[in-house]
Symmetry: C2
Subunit: 287 residues, 2 copies
Protein backbone atom coordinates (compact mmCIF):
# COMPACT_ATOMS: atom_id res chain seq x y z
CA UNK A 1 0.00 0.00 0.00
CA UNK A 2 1.05 3.54 -0.75
CA UNK A 3 -0.20 6.43 1.38
CA UNK A 4 0.84 9.27 -0.85
CA UNK A 5 1.97 8.67 -4.42
CA UNK A 6 3.65 11.49 -6.29
CA UNK A 7 3.72 11.29 -10.09
CA UNK A 8 5.98 13.74 -11.88
CA UNK A 9 4.86 13.83 -15.51
CA UNK A 10 1.16 12.97 -15.59
CA UNK A 11 0.83 11.62 -19.13
CA UNK A 12 -0.16 8.27 -20.58
CA UNK A 13 2.34 6.31 -18.45
CA UNK A 14 2.03 8.17 -15.13
CA UNK A 15 -1.71 8.71 -15.51
CA UNK A 16 -2.39 5.05 -16.30
CA UNK A 17 -0.45 3.93 -13.21
CA UNK A 18 -2.46 6.30 -11.01
CA UNK A 19 -5.72 5.02 -12.51
CA UNK A 20 -4.66 1.38 -12.06
CA UNK A 21 -3.63 1.81 -8.42
CA UNK A 22 -6.75 3.79 -7.57
CA UNK A 23 -8.92 1.12 -9.23
CA UNK A 24 -7.59 -1.55 -6.86
CA UNK A 25 -7.40 0.76 -3.83
CA UNK A 26 -3.62 0.45 -3.63
CA UNK A 27 -2.91 4.10 -2.90
CA UNK A 28 -4.32 6.94 -0.84
CA UNK A 29 -3.61 10.41 -2.17
CA UNK A 30 -2.10 11.01 -5.61
CA UNK A 31 -0.14 14.23 -6.18
CA UNK A 32 0.73 15.20 -9.71
CA UNK A 33 3.54 17.45 -10.86
CA UNK A 34 4.55 18.81 -14.22
CA UNK A 35 5.30 21.96 -16.14
CA UNK A 36 1.90 22.56 -17.71
CA UNK A 37 -0.87 23.59 -15.24
CA UNK A 38 -3.56 23.08 -17.94
CA UNK A 39 -2.57 19.41 -18.34
CA UNK A 40 -2.47 18.95 -14.57
CA UNK A 41 -5.91 20.56 -14.14
CA UNK A 42 -7.20 18.14 -16.81
CA UNK A 43 -5.71 15.26 -14.81
CA UNK A 44 -7.57 16.44 -11.70
CA UNK A 45 -10.83 16.79 -13.67
CA UNK A 46 -10.38 13.26 -15.05
CA UNK A 47 -9.96 11.97 -11.48
CA UNK A 48 -6.45 10.71 -12.22
CA UNK A 49 -4.78 12.81 -9.50
CA UNK A 50 -6.15 14.51 -6.39
CA UNK A 51 -4.13 17.72 -6.65
CA UNK A 52 -0.98 19.06 -8.27
CA UNK A 53 2.07 21.23 -7.83
CA UNK A 54 4.12 22.77 -10.62
CA UNK A 55 7.23 22.74 -8.41
CA UNK A 56 8.51 19.12 -8.21
CA UNK A 57 10.23 19.87 -4.89
CA UNK A 58 6.91 20.79 -3.28
CA UNK A 59 5.11 17.90 -4.99
CA UNK A 60 7.32 15.18 -3.47
CA UNK A 61 7.00 16.46 0.12
CA UNK A 62 5.48 13.73 2.28
CA UNK A 63 5.13 11.21 -0.59
CA UNK A 64 6.20 7.64 0.20
CA UNK A 65 6.57 6.69 -3.48
CA UNK A 66 7.67 9.06 -6.25
CA UNK A 67 7.43 8.06 -9.93
CA UNK A 68 9.23 10.22 -12.49
CA UNK A 69 7.54 9.69 -15.85
CA UNK A 70 8.96 12.48 -17.98
CA UNK A 71 10.89 12.28 -21.31
CA UNK A 72 14.45 11.05 -20.78
CA UNK A 73 15.89 14.46 -21.55
CA UNK A 74 13.98 15.98 -18.61
CA UNK A 75 15.01 13.37 -15.99
CA UNK A 76 18.13 15.09 -14.66
CA UNK A 77 16.33 18.41 -14.20
CA UNK A 78 13.55 16.71 -12.23
CA UNK A 79 16.07 14.84 -10.05
CA UNK A 80 17.84 18.12 -9.28
CA UNK A 81 14.54 19.80 -8.47
CA UNK A 82 13.48 17.13 -5.95
CA UNK A 83 16.90 16.65 -4.30
CA UNK A 84 16.61 17.49 -0.60
CA UNK A 85 12.80 17.51 -0.68
CA UNK A 86 12.08 13.76 -0.51
CA UNK A 87 10.72 12.29 2.74
CA UNK A 88 13.17 10.18 4.77
CA UNK A 89 11.47 6.92 3.88
CA UNK A 90 10.57 7.82 0.28
CA UNK A 91 11.18 5.43 -2.61
CA UNK A 92 12.05 6.94 -5.97
CA UNK A 93 11.51 5.23 -9.33
CA UNK A 94 11.14 6.20 -12.97
CA UNK A 95 9.55 4.95 -16.19
CA UNK A 96 12.28 5.77 -18.72
CA UNK A 97 12.68 3.57 -21.80
CA UNK A 98 16.48 3.54 -21.47
CA UNK A 99 18.09 2.84 -18.10
CA UNK A 100 21.80 3.67 -18.40
CA UNK A 101 21.10 7.32 -19.10
CA UNK A 102 18.60 7.69 -16.22
CA UNK A 103 21.09 6.14 -13.81
CA UNK A 104 23.75 8.59 -15.06
CA UNK A 105 21.28 11.47 -14.67
CA UNK A 106 20.60 10.39 -11.07
CA UNK A 107 24.33 10.12 -10.40
CA UNK A 108 24.89 13.65 -11.67
CA UNK A 109 21.89 15.15 -9.88
CA UNK A 110 22.32 13.46 -6.49
CA UNK A 111 26.14 13.07 -6.43
CA UNK A 112 25.72 9.29 -6.27
CA UNK A 113 22.79 7.08 -7.29
CA UNK A 114 20.57 7.03 -4.18
CA UNK A 115 19.97 3.66 -2.48
CA UNK A 116 16.24 4.44 -2.52
CA UNK A 117 16.18 4.93 -6.31
CA UNK A 118 14.91 1.91 -8.26
CA UNK A 119 15.25 2.44 -12.05
CA UNK A 120 12.27 0.94 -13.84
CA UNK A 121 10.65 0.60 -17.24
CA UNK A 122 7.05 -0.44 -17.87
CA UNK A 123 6.95 -1.97 -21.36
CA UNK A 124 3.58 -0.60 -22.25
CA UNK A 125 2.19 2.37 -24.04
CA UNK A 126 0.62 3.16 -27.33
CA UNK A 127 1.34 5.67 -30.06
CA UNK A 128 -1.00 8.01 -28.16
CA UNK A 129 0.24 10.22 -25.37
CA UNK A 130 -1.10 12.57 -22.72
CA UNK A 131 -3.26 12.02 -19.67
CA UNK A 132 -6.45 11.91 -21.76
CA UNK A 133 -5.18 8.64 -23.27
CA UNK A 134 -4.50 7.06 -19.85
CA UNK A 135 -6.41 3.91 -18.92
CA UNK A 136 -6.45 1.75 -15.77
CA UNK A 137 -5.60 -1.50 -17.59
CA UNK A 138 -2.55 -0.30 -19.54
CA UNK A 139 -0.24 -2.50 -17.46
CA UNK A 140 -2.45 -5.55 -17.14
CA UNK A 141 -0.30 -8.59 -18.04
CA UNK A 142 2.39 -6.31 -19.44
CA UNK A 143 6.03 -6.50 -18.42
CA UNK A 144 7.89 -4.10 -16.17
CA UNK A 145 11.67 -4.33 -15.98
CA UNK A 146 13.48 -3.02 -12.90
CA UNK A 147 17.24 -2.44 -13.12
CA UNK A 148 18.38 -2.00 -9.50
CA UNK A 149 22.10 -1.42 -8.87
CA UNK A 150 24.25 -3.41 -6.45
CA UNK A 151 23.73 -0.93 -3.66
CA UNK A 152 20.00 -0.36 -4.28
CA UNK A 153 17.98 -0.97 -1.09
CA UNK A 154 16.17 -4.33 -1.56
CA UNK A 155 13.21 -2.98 0.43
CA UNK A 156 12.88 -0.10 -2.05
CA UNK A 157 13.02 -2.48 -5.02
CA UNK A 158 10.41 -4.69 -3.43
CA UNK A 159 8.15 -1.68 -2.83
CA UNK A 160 8.36 -0.66 -6.51
CA UNK A 161 7.78 -4.25 -7.61
CA UNK A 162 4.67 -4.43 -5.41
CA UNK A 163 3.32 -1.23 -6.94
CA UNK A 164 3.61 -2.47 -10.52
CA UNK A 165 2.21 -5.86 -9.60
CA UNK A 166 -0.79 -4.12 -8.03
CA UNK A 167 -1.28 -2.45 -11.43
CA UNK A 168 -1.43 -5.90 -13.02
CA UNK A 169 2.10 -6.13 -14.47
CA UNK A 170 4.68 -8.93 -14.47
CA UNK A 171 7.90 -7.58 -12.99
CA UNK A 172 11.41 -8.83 -13.71
CA UNK A 173 14.93 -7.54 -13.07
CA UNK A 174 17.85 -7.01 -15.44
CA UNK A 175 21.25 -5.35 -15.63
CA UNK A 176 20.77 -1.79 -16.97
CA UNK A 177 23.05 -2.34 -19.99
CA UNK A 178 21.27 -5.57 -20.87
CA UNK A 179 17.90 -3.82 -20.63
CA UNK A 180 19.15 -1.13 -22.98
CA UNK A 181 20.38 -3.68 -25.54
CA UNK A 182 17.15 -5.70 -25.44
CA UNK A 183 14.96 -2.61 -25.80
CA UNK A 184 17.13 -1.22 -28.59
CA UNK A 185 16.32 -4.38 -30.54
CA UNK A 186 12.64 -4.82 -29.73
CA UNK A 187 11.40 -1.26 -29.41
CA UNK A 188 13.88 1.47 -30.28
CA UNK A 189 15.00 0.09 -33.66
CA UNK A 190 11.40 -0.64 -34.82
CA UNK A 191 10.38 2.91 -33.93
CA UNK A 192 13.37 4.33 -35.80
CA UNK A 193 12.48 2.20 -38.84
CA UNK A 194 8.85 3.29 -38.81
CA UNK A 195 9.69 7.00 -38.43
CA UNK A 196 12.35 6.73 -41.16
CA UNK A 197 10.02 4.92 -43.56
CA UNK A 198 7.13 7.36 -43.21
CA UNK A 199 9.45 10.36 -43.48
CA UNK A 200 11.12 8.78 -46.51
CA UNK A 201 7.76 8.25 -48.27
CA UNK A 202 6.53 11.70 -47.27
CA UNK A 203 9.48 13.18 -49.16
CA UNK A 204 8.58 11.35 -52.39
CA UNK A 205 7.12 13.65 -55.02
CA UNK A 206 3.75 11.92 -55.24
CA UNK A 207 3.15 11.51 -51.53
CA UNK A 208 -0.59 12.11 -51.62
CA UNK A 209 -0.92 9.23 -54.08
CA UNK A 210 1.60 7.10 -52.18
CA UNK A 211 -0.41 7.29 -48.97
CA UNK A 212 -3.72 6.82 -50.83
CA UNK A 213 -2.60 3.35 -51.85
CA UNK A 214 -1.10 2.40 -48.52
CA UNK A 215 -3.14 -0.57 -47.32
CA UNK A 216 -3.88 -2.25 -44.01
CA UNK A 217 -0.43 -3.70 -43.51
CA UNK A 218 1.11 -0.27 -43.91
CA UNK A 219 -1.27 1.20 -41.34
CA UNK A 220 -0.23 -1.40 -38.75
CA UNK A 221 3.42 -1.21 -39.72
CA UNK A 222 3.63 2.54 -39.33
CA UNK A 223 1.33 3.03 -36.33
CA UNK A 224 4.33 3.56 -34.06
CA UNK A 225 5.43 6.45 -36.32
CA UNK A 226 2.54 8.40 -34.76
CA UNK A 227 4.35 8.26 -31.40
CA UNK A 228 5.61 11.37 -29.62
CA UNK A 229 8.66 12.71 -31.54
CA UNK A 230 10.20 14.41 -28.47
CA UNK A 231 10.03 11.23 -26.42
CA UNK A 232 11.69 9.29 -29.24
CA UNK A 233 14.36 11.90 -29.87
CA UNK A 234 15.23 11.60 -26.19
CA UNK A 235 15.31 7.80 -26.34
CA UNK A 236 17.67 7.92 -29.35
CA UNK A 237 19.98 10.32 -27.54
CA UNK A 238 19.80 8.37 -24.26
CA UNK A 239 20.38 4.90 -25.70
CA UNK A 240 22.59 6.03 -28.57
CA UNK A 241 25.24 3.30 -28.49
CA UNK A 242 22.84 0.36 -28.45
CA UNK A 243 20.56 1.95 -31.06
CA UNK A 244 23.46 2.82 -33.35
CA UNK A 245 24.68 -0.77 -33.17
CA UNK A 246 21.21 -2.10 -33.99
CA UNK A 247 20.83 0.31 -36.92
CA UNK A 248 24.21 -0.80 -38.32
CA UNK A 249 23.31 -4.44 -37.91
CA UNK A 250 19.95 -3.86 -39.59
CA UNK A 251 21.54 -2.00 -42.52
CA UNK A 252 23.89 -4.96 -43.06
CA UNK A 253 20.96 -7.38 -43.03
CA UNK A 254 18.88 -5.18 -45.33
CA UNK A 255 21.80 -4.87 -47.75
CA UNK A 256 21.89 -8.64 -47.94
CA UNK A 257 18.18 -8.72 -48.82
CA UNK A 258 18.75 -5.99 -51.41
CA UNK A 259 21.59 -8.05 -52.89
CA UNK A 260 19.37 -11.14 -53.06
CA UNK A 261 16.69 -9.07 -54.84
CA UNK A 262 19.25 -7.70 -57.29
CA UNK A 263 20.74 -11.15 -57.97
CA UNK A 264 17.30 -12.77 -58.23
CA UNK A 265 18.31 -15.15 -55.46
CA UNK A 266 14.85 -16.54 -54.70
CA UNK A 267 16.32 -19.27 -52.52
CA UNK A 268 17.95 -16.77 -50.15
CA UNK A 269 14.84 -14.54 -50.05
CA UNK A 270 12.62 -17.50 -49.22
CA UNK A 271 15.05 -18.54 -46.48
CA UNK A 272 14.99 -15.10 -44.83
CA UNK A 273 11.23 -14.62 -45.14
CA UNK A 274 10.50 -18.13 -43.85
CA UNK A 275 12.83 -17.70 -40.87
CA UNK A 276 11.07 -14.41 -40.04
CA UNK A 277 7.57 -15.84 -40.35
CA UNK A 278 8.46 -18.86 -38.23
CA UNK A 279 10.05 -16.72 -35.53
CA UNK A 280 7.12 -14.34 -35.40
CA UNK A 281 4.46 -17.06 -35.42
CA UNK A 282 6.37 -18.95 -32.72
CA UNK A 283 7.31 -16.13 -30.37
CA UNK A 284 4.65 -13.50 -30.92
CA UNK A 285 1.73 -15.67 -32.01
CA UNK A 286 -0.34 -15.70 -35.16
CA UNK A 287 -2.79 -12.86 -34.77
Amino acid sequence: MINRLCIIGVGLIGGSLARALRAVGYCGEVIGAGRNPAHLRQAVELGVIDRFETDPGQAVAGADVVLVAVPLGAMEGVFRAIRGHLAGDAVLTDAGSAKGSVIEAARRAFGRVPDYFVPGHPIAGTENSGVAASVPDLYKNRRVILTPLEHTDPAAASRVRGMWEAAGAHVSEMEPAHHDAVLAATSHLPHVLAFTLVDSLARLGDREEIFTYAAGGFRDFTRIASSDPVMWRDICLANDDAIRRMIERFIDDLKEVGKAVQEHDGHRLLEIFTSAKQARDRFIGHD
Copy 2:
Protein backbone atom coordinates in the same frame (compact mmCIF):
# COMPACT_ATOMS: atom_id res chain seq x y z
CA MET B 1 -23.37 -9.89 -63.89
CA ILE B 2 -21.15 -12.90 -64.42
CA ASN B 3 -22.65 -16.22 -65.47
CA ARG B 4 -19.66 -18.42 -64.82
CA LEU B 5 -16.67 -17.13 -62.85
CA CYS B 6 -13.48 -19.16 -62.88
CA ILE B 7 -10.96 -18.54 -60.11
CA ILE B 8 -7.53 -20.05 -60.52
CA GLY B 9 -5.89 -20.06 -57.10
CA VAL B 10 -8.64 -20.22 -54.50
CA GLY B 11 -6.90 -18.66 -51.52
CA LEU B 12 -7.56 -15.56 -49.44
CA ILE B 13 -7.76 -13.25 -52.47
CA GLY B 14 -9.66 -15.46 -54.91
CA GLY B 15 -11.88 -16.96 -52.20
CA SER B 16 -12.84 -13.57 -50.80
CA LEU B 17 -13.83 -12.30 -54.25
CA ALA B 18 -16.05 -15.36 -54.79
CA ARG B 19 -17.68 -14.86 -51.39
CA ALA B 20 -18.22 -11.14 -52.05
CA LEU B 21 -19.80 -11.67 -55.48
CA ARG B 22 -22.01 -14.51 -54.23
CA ALA B 23 -23.15 -12.36 -51.29
CA VAL B 24 -24.53 -9.71 -53.66
CA GLY B 25 -25.75 -12.19 -56.25
CA TYR B 26 -23.34 -10.89 -58.88
CA CYS B 27 -22.33 -14.26 -60.28
CA GLY B 28 -23.89 -17.61 -61.16
CA GLU B 29 -21.56 -20.57 -61.00
CA VAL B 30 -18.06 -20.34 -59.53
CA ILE B 31 -15.46 -22.81 -60.74
CA GLY B 32 -12.23 -23.13 -58.80
CA ALA B 33 -8.90 -24.39 -60.06
CA GLY B 34 -5.58 -25.04 -58.39
CA ARG B 35 -2.92 -27.62 -57.78
CA ASN B 36 -4.10 -28.96 -54.44
CA PRO B 37 -7.37 -30.96 -54.53
CA ALA B 38 -7.60 -30.92 -50.70
CA HIS B 39 -7.66 -27.11 -50.67
CA LEU B 40 -10.21 -27.06 -53.48
CA ARG B 41 -12.45 -29.56 -51.68
CA GLN B 42 -12.26 -27.34 -48.60
CA ALA B 43 -13.32 -24.39 -50.77
CA VAL B 44 -16.36 -26.37 -51.97
CA GLU B 45 -17.23 -27.37 -48.38
CA LEU B 46 -16.97 -23.73 -47.28
CA GLY B 47 -19.39 -22.78 -50.07
CA VAL B 48 -16.79 -20.52 -51.71
CA ILE B 49 -16.87 -22.37 -55.06
CA ASP B 50 -19.42 -24.73 -56.63
CA ARG B 51 -16.95 -27.20 -58.13
CA PHE B 52 -13.32 -27.44 -59.16
CA GLU B 53 -10.89 -28.73 -61.74
CA THR B 54 -7.20 -29.34 -61.19
CA ASP B 55 -6.51 -28.71 -64.89
CA PRO B 56 -6.74 -24.93 -65.48
CA GLY B 57 -7.55 -25.52 -69.16
CA GLN B 58 -10.67 -27.47 -68.26
CA ALA B 59 -11.58 -25.02 -65.48
CA VAL B 60 -11.79 -21.99 -67.79
CA ALA B 61 -14.04 -23.69 -70.37
CA GLY B 62 -17.28 -21.73 -70.68
CA ALA B 63 -16.32 -19.12 -68.05
CA ASP B 64 -17.08 -15.51 -68.97
CA VAL B 65 -14.65 -14.09 -66.40
CA VAL B 66 -11.40 -15.74 -65.33
CA LEU B 67 -9.39 -14.45 -62.35
CA VAL B 68 -5.85 -15.75 -61.86
CA ALA B 69 -4.94 -15.32 -58.19
CA VAL B 70 -1.76 -17.37 -57.85
CA PRO B 71 1.71 -16.30 -56.65
CA LEU B 72 3.49 -14.20 -59.27
CA GLY B 73 5.96 -16.99 -60.03
CA ALA B 74 3.11 -19.28 -61.10
CA MET B 75 1.37 -16.79 -63.43
CA GLU B 76 3.10 -17.74 -66.68
CA GLY B 77 2.47 -21.45 -66.17
CA VAL B 78 -1.23 -20.79 -65.61
CA PHE B 79 -1.44 -18.55 -68.69
CA ARG B 80 0.20 -21.28 -70.78
CA ALA B 81 -2.19 -23.89 -69.37
CA ILE B 82 -5.32 -21.90 -70.26
CA ARG B 83 -4.17 -20.70 -73.70
CA GLY B 84 -6.60 -21.98 -76.33
CA HIS B 85 -9.20 -23.02 -73.74
CA LEU B 86 -10.84 -19.65 -73.00
CA ALA B 87 -14.34 -18.99 -74.33
CA GLY B 88 -14.57 -16.54 -77.24
CA ASP B 89 -16.06 -13.78 -75.12
CA ALA B 90 -14.05 -14.49 -71.95
CA VAL B 91 -12.38 -11.72 -69.97
CA LEU B 92 -9.11 -12.55 -68.21
CA THR B 93 -7.73 -10.69 -65.19
CA ASP B 94 -5.30 -11.32 -62.35
CA ALA B 95 -4.61 -10.21 -58.79
CA GLY B 96 -0.82 -9.98 -58.80
CA SER B 97 0.90 -7.42 -56.55
CA ALA B 98 3.31 -6.39 -59.33
CA LYS B 99 2.01 -5.67 -62.81
CA GLY B 100 5.00 -5.41 -65.14
CA SER B 101 5.99 -9.01 -64.55
CA VAL B 102 2.46 -10.35 -65.05
CA ILE B 103 2.15 -8.47 -68.32
CA GLU B 104 5.50 -9.96 -69.43
CA ALA B 105 4.32 -13.41 -68.38
CA ALA B 106 1.16 -12.97 -70.49
CA ARG B 107 3.23 -11.75 -73.43
CA ARG B 108 5.45 -14.83 -73.24
CA ALA B 109 2.59 -17.28 -72.72
CA PHE B 110 0.16 -15.91 -75.33
CA GLY B 111 2.68 -14.52 -77.88
CA ARG B 112 1.23 -11.04 -77.32
CA VAL B 113 -0.74 -9.62 -74.40
CA PRO B 114 -4.36 -10.51 -75.20
CA ASP B 115 -6.84 -7.64 -75.72
CA TYR B 116 -9.18 -9.40 -73.31
CA PHE B 117 -6.55 -9.47 -70.49
CA VAL B 118 -6.99 -6.72 -67.89
CA PRO B 119 -4.10 -6.73 -65.38
CA GLY B 120 -5.40 -5.89 -61.91
CA HIS B 121 -4.36 -5.64 -58.28
CA PRO B 122 -6.74 -5.57 -55.32
CA ILE B 123 -4.92 -3.75 -52.50
CA ALA B 124 -6.30 -5.88 -49.75
CA GLY B 125 -5.27 -8.91 -47.82
CA THR B 126 -3.98 -9.74 -44.40
CA GLU B 127 -0.99 -11.64 -43.12
CA ASN B 128 -3.23 -14.73 -43.23
CA SER B 129 -3.57 -16.81 -46.36
CA GLY B 130 -5.62 -19.71 -47.69
CA VAL B 131 -9.30 -20.09 -48.46
CA ALA B 132 -10.16 -20.64 -44.77
CA ALA B 133 -9.19 -17.00 -44.16
CA SER B 134 -11.39 -15.68 -46.98
CA VAL B 135 -14.20 -13.29 -46.07
CA PRO B 136 -16.92 -11.58 -48.13
CA ASP B 137 -16.02 -8.05 -47.03
CA LEU B 138 -12.27 -8.14 -47.71
CA TYR B 139 -12.65 -5.63 -50.57
CA LYS B 140 -15.24 -3.37 -49.02
CA ASN B 141 -13.99 0.22 -49.47
CA ARG B 142 -10.55 -1.06 -50.44
CA ARG B 143 -8.74 0.00 -53.59
CA VAL B 144 -8.27 -2.02 -56.74
CA ILE B 145 -5.83 -0.79 -59.38
CA LEU B 146 -6.26 -1.88 -63.00
CA THR B 147 -3.34 -1.40 -65.39
CA PRO B 148 -4.82 -1.90 -68.87
CA LEU B 149 -2.50 -1.51 -71.87
CA GLU B 150 -3.16 0.71 -74.87
CA HIS B 151 -4.69 -2.11 -76.86
CA THR B 152 -6.73 -3.60 -73.99
CA ASP B 153 -10.41 -3.92 -74.94
CA PRO B 154 -12.27 -1.16 -73.04
CA ALA B 155 -15.29 -3.47 -72.68
CA ALA B 156 -13.08 -6.05 -70.92
CA ALA B 157 -11.67 -3.40 -68.58
CA SER B 158 -15.15 -2.19 -67.80
CA ARG B 159 -16.28 -5.74 -67.04
CA VAL B 160 -13.41 -6.25 -64.58
CA ARG B 161 -14.08 -2.84 -63.01
CA GLY B 162 -17.74 -3.77 -62.55
CA MET B 163 -16.79 -7.03 -60.86
CA TRP B 164 -14.55 -5.37 -58.27
CA GLU B 165 -17.08 -2.60 -57.66
CA ALA B 166 -19.71 -5.26 -57.02
CA ALA B 167 -17.34 -6.64 -54.36
CA GLY B 168 -17.34 -3.19 -52.70
CA ALA B 169 -13.99 -1.86 -53.96
CA HIS B 170 -12.97 1.52 -55.38
CA VAL B 171 -11.34 0.96 -58.75
CA SER B 172 -8.76 3.18 -60.40
CA GLU B 173 -6.38 2.85 -63.35
CA MET B 174 -2.62 3.40 -63.59
CA GLU B 175 0.31 2.77 -65.89
CA PRO B 176 1.85 -0.62 -64.96
CA ALA B 177 5.28 0.85 -64.15
CA HIS B 178 3.75 3.55 -61.99
CA HIS B 179 1.72 0.94 -60.11
CA ASP B 180 4.89 -1.04 -59.47
CA ALA B 181 6.74 2.01 -58.12
CA VAL B 182 3.86 3.06 -55.84
CA LEU B 183 3.43 -0.44 -54.46
CA ALA B 184 7.18 -0.90 -53.97
CA ALA B 185 7.04 2.13 -51.65
CA THR B 186 3.80 1.45 -49.76
CA SER B 187 3.70 -2.32 -49.56
CA HIS B 188 6.77 -4.16 -50.84
CA LEU B 189 9.39 -2.16 -48.92
CA PRO B 190 7.46 -2.33 -45.61
CA HIS B 191 7.13 -6.10 -45.96
CA VAL B 192 10.85 -6.43 -46.71
CA LEU B 193 11.66 -4.31 -43.64
CA ALA B 194 9.39 -6.37 -41.37
CA PHE B 195 10.75 -9.71 -42.61
CA THR B 196 14.33 -8.43 -42.31
CA LEU B 197 13.80 -7.08 -38.80
CA VAL B 198 12.23 -10.25 -37.40
CA ASP B 199 14.86 -12.45 -39.07
CA SER B 200 17.59 -10.16 -37.75
CA LEU B 201 16.28 -10.39 -34.18
CA ALA B 202 15.70 -14.14 -34.47
CA ARG B 203 19.42 -14.53 -35.18
CA LEU B 204 20.43 -12.68 -32.01
CA GLY B 205 21.79 -15.00 -29.33
CA ASP B 206 19.09 -14.28 -26.77
CA ARG B 207 16.11 -14.45 -29.07
CA GLU B 208 13.72 -16.03 -26.58
CA GLU B 209 14.34 -13.12 -24.24
CA ILE B 210 14.25 -10.59 -27.08
CA PHE B 211 10.78 -11.66 -28.14
CA THR B 212 9.57 -11.91 -24.53
CA TYR B 213 10.07 -8.19 -24.12
CA ALA B 214 8.65 -7.21 -27.50
CA ALA B 215 5.63 -5.07 -26.69
CA GLY B 216 2.46 -4.01 -28.48
CA GLY B 217 4.11 -1.72 -30.99
CA PHE B 218 6.40 -4.54 -32.07
CA ARG B 219 3.44 -6.87 -32.56
CA ASP B 220 1.75 -4.37 -34.90
CA PHE B 221 4.99 -3.45 -36.62
CA THR B 222 5.90 -7.03 -37.44
CA ARG B 223 2.45 -8.43 -38.20
CA ILE B 224 3.19 -8.37 -41.93
CA ALA B 225 6.25 -10.59 -41.30
CA SER B 226 3.73 -13.41 -40.74
CA SER B 227 2.72 -13.14 -44.42
CA ASP B 228 3.28 -15.97 -46.90
CA PRO B 229 7.04 -16.20 -47.64
CA VAL B 230 6.55 -17.74 -51.12
CA MET B 231 4.20 -14.97 -52.19
CA TRP B 232 6.69 -12.35 -50.99
CA ARG B 233 9.68 -14.04 -52.56
CA ASP B 234 7.78 -13.92 -55.84
CA ILE B 235 6.89 -10.25 -55.38
CA CYS B 236 10.55 -9.39 -54.72
CA LEU B 237 11.63 -11.24 -57.85
CA ALA B 238 8.80 -9.79 -59.96
CA ASN B 239 9.20 -6.15 -58.90
CA ASP B 240 12.96 -6.33 -58.36
CA ASP B 241 14.00 -3.00 -59.89
CA ALA B 242 11.50 -0.84 -58.01
CA ILE B 243 12.06 -2.71 -54.73
CA ARG B 244 15.85 -2.49 -55.04
CA ARG B 245 15.60 1.26 -55.61
CA MET B 246 13.34 1.66 -52.55
CA ILE B 247 15.70 -0.44 -50.39
CA GLU B 248 18.66 1.69 -51.46
CA ARG B 249 16.77 4.89 -50.78
CA PHE B 250 15.70 3.61 -47.37
CA ILE B 251 19.25 2.57 -46.46
CA ASP B 252 20.46 6.09 -47.30
CA ASP B 253 17.73 7.60 -45.12
CA LEU B 254 18.40 5.18 -42.27
CA LYS B 255 22.13 5.94 -42.45
CA GLU B 256 21.28 9.60 -41.96
CA VAL B 257 19.26 8.75 -38.84
CA GLY B 258 22.12 6.57 -37.59
CA LYS B 259 24.51 9.47 -38.15
CA ALA B 260 22.22 11.83 -36.21
CA VAL B 261 22.11 9.31 -33.34
CA GLN B 262 25.90 8.96 -33.36
CA GLU B 263 26.44 12.71 -33.48
CA HIS B 264 23.78 13.37 -30.84
CA ASP B 265 21.98 15.63 -33.32
CA GLY B 266 18.69 15.91 -31.45
CA HIS B 267 17.52 18.71 -33.72
CA ARG B 268 17.78 16.51 -36.84
CA LEU B 269 16.15 13.52 -35.10
CA LEU B 270 13.24 15.65 -33.92
CA GLU B 271 12.84 17.03 -37.45
CA ILE B 272 12.64 13.55 -39.02
CA PHE B 273 10.36 12.09 -36.34
CA THR B 274 8.04 15.10 -36.44
CA SER B 275 7.80 15.00 -40.24
CA ALA B 276 6.92 11.31 -40.04
CA LYS B 277 4.30 11.73 -37.34
CA GLN B 278 2.69 14.64 -39.18
CA ALA B 279 2.59 12.73 -42.47
CA ARG B 280 1.11 9.63 -40.88
CA ASP B 281 -1.47 11.51 -38.81
CA ARG B 282 -2.44 13.55 -41.87
CA PHE B 283 -2.58 10.85 -44.54
CA ILE B 284 -3.34 7.67 -42.65
CA GLY B 285 -5.25 9.07 -39.68
CA HIS B 286 -4.61 8.85 -35.98
CA ASP B 287 -5.84 5.41 -34.98
